[in-house]
């Protein structure tokens, strides 16, 4: 209940043009929108750009947000569409992505391992289509809460479960190869 009032409060503050609400908006939805974009684009730099673009679109269109619906679902739709638009404009740049990874200033072993694992997962996720990747991303982002994914995507429970199962099956087919290599 408190969550709902916080969400409403944030939407109202953004509507009023309260600039102090912007950091709160980014803290609450920036990471989520970035992850949605990343699952579609599988390219960090592009996902960052798309997420910034999506946040800006959301902010500019906040007047059209229906306060009775979920702000998170609304942000998801904007992030998803923006990422798809970016994908259309994107050139195939898998080499650039790996260069970005090598050129990263992060040096510690833990971070390198994390990044390598994350890169491996991204490679694995390339076997899925955008929608399945997004559903998978949401599933783990929302801590396997199907109800939350239903609210965000508007899909039915059975639809989500079918898509999720297909995606997991596809991933587990390739996972053994991936784990052998890593």
């Amino acid at each position: 209940m408190q969550q709902i009032s916080l969400k409403d409060d944030l939407a109202i503050r953004l509507r009023r043009g309260d600039r102090k609400a912007i950091p709160d908006f980014v803290d609450q939805y920036g990471g989520f929108m970035f992850n949605v974009c990343h699952k579609i684009l599988l390219h960090r730099a592009e996902a960052e750009e798309a997420a910034q673009d999506a946040l800006l679109k959301a902010l500019k269109a906040i007047e059209s947000f229906d306060a009775s619906s979920s702000l998170k679902a609304w942000c998801y739709t904007i992030a998803y569409r923006t990422a798809i638009d970016h994908q259309r404009k994107m050139k195939p740049t898998s080499d650039i992505e790996s260069l970005h990874f090598v050129a990263s200033p992060v040096k510690t072993d833990d971070n390198v391992t994390t990044r390598e694992t994350r890169e491996g997962i991204d490679r694995l996720l390339r076997h899925l289509d955008e929608e399945s990747r997004t559903i998978m991303g949401l599933f783990y982002l929302e801590e396997k809460n199907i109800k939350e994914i239903m609210d965000i995507t508007g899909l039915t429970e059975s639809n989500i479960k079918i898509k999720l199962f297909r995606a997991r099956k596809e991933l587990s087919l390739h996972a053994s190869k991936y784990f052998e290599h890593s």
């Binding site: 309260d18 912007i22 980014v26 990471g31 990343h38 960090r44 902010l59 199962f165 587990s172 996972a175």
Partner: protein
């Protein structure tokens, strides 16, 4: 018919029925290929749980905030000068002052006894109209504030009129 993959994922999601759970345990104990598949899927599930979502680092967060703040025009604080001039507080004060002046004019009109100056006796038609307008503005101001407080999205009756 549940496939091995389906059974393992259902088990990991904690959604197995007692029969499925028994079947899962039996297969894990007796079937080597099932066991291998299970370990692959468990590893995959753990890796996905840990790494599929990338946390927003502080640099990216700051870049997002800065780009949003710079992209938003300062005037997003919507037509403040007009609101300030015709703000509800000002209008309410003006209406109250107007009505007080009318009341004084009625009370002391053409009567020099109570005041150091003489007030003209107001025309009943004009004063009636002024009172009505003042009342209407007061009512609108109250409605404006109430609607803003309750619905947020509403721009306010005064803003619409202005």
């Amino acid at each position: 018919m549940t496939t091995h993959d389906e059974l393992i994922w259902t088990h990991l999601d904690g959604e197995c029925s007692p029969e499925e759970e028994a079947m899962f345990t039996r297969l894990l104990e007796n079937d080597r290929s099932f066991r291998e598949k299970y370990y692959t899927i468990v590893t995959l599930d753990n890796q996905l749980s840990k790494h599929i979502n990338i946390p927003l680092d502080s640099q990216l967060r700051d870049r997002m905030v800065t780009s949003l703040l710079s992209a938003l025009p300062v005037s997003t604080a919507t037509t403040r000068p007009l609101k300030w001039v015709l703000g509800p507080g000002w209008l309410a004060a003006l209406c109250i002052t107007g009505m007080a002046a009318l009341a004084m004019a009625y009370r002391f009109g053409d009567d020099a006894s109570g005041l150091p100056f003489t007030l003209p006796q107001p025309d009943p038609k004009i004063s009636g109209m002024v009172t009505l307008i003042c009342m209407a503005f007061l009512l609108l101001t109250l409605m404006d504030q109430a609607l803003k407080r309750w619905f947020g999205k509403h721009k306010g009756a005064i803003t619409i009129l202005a």
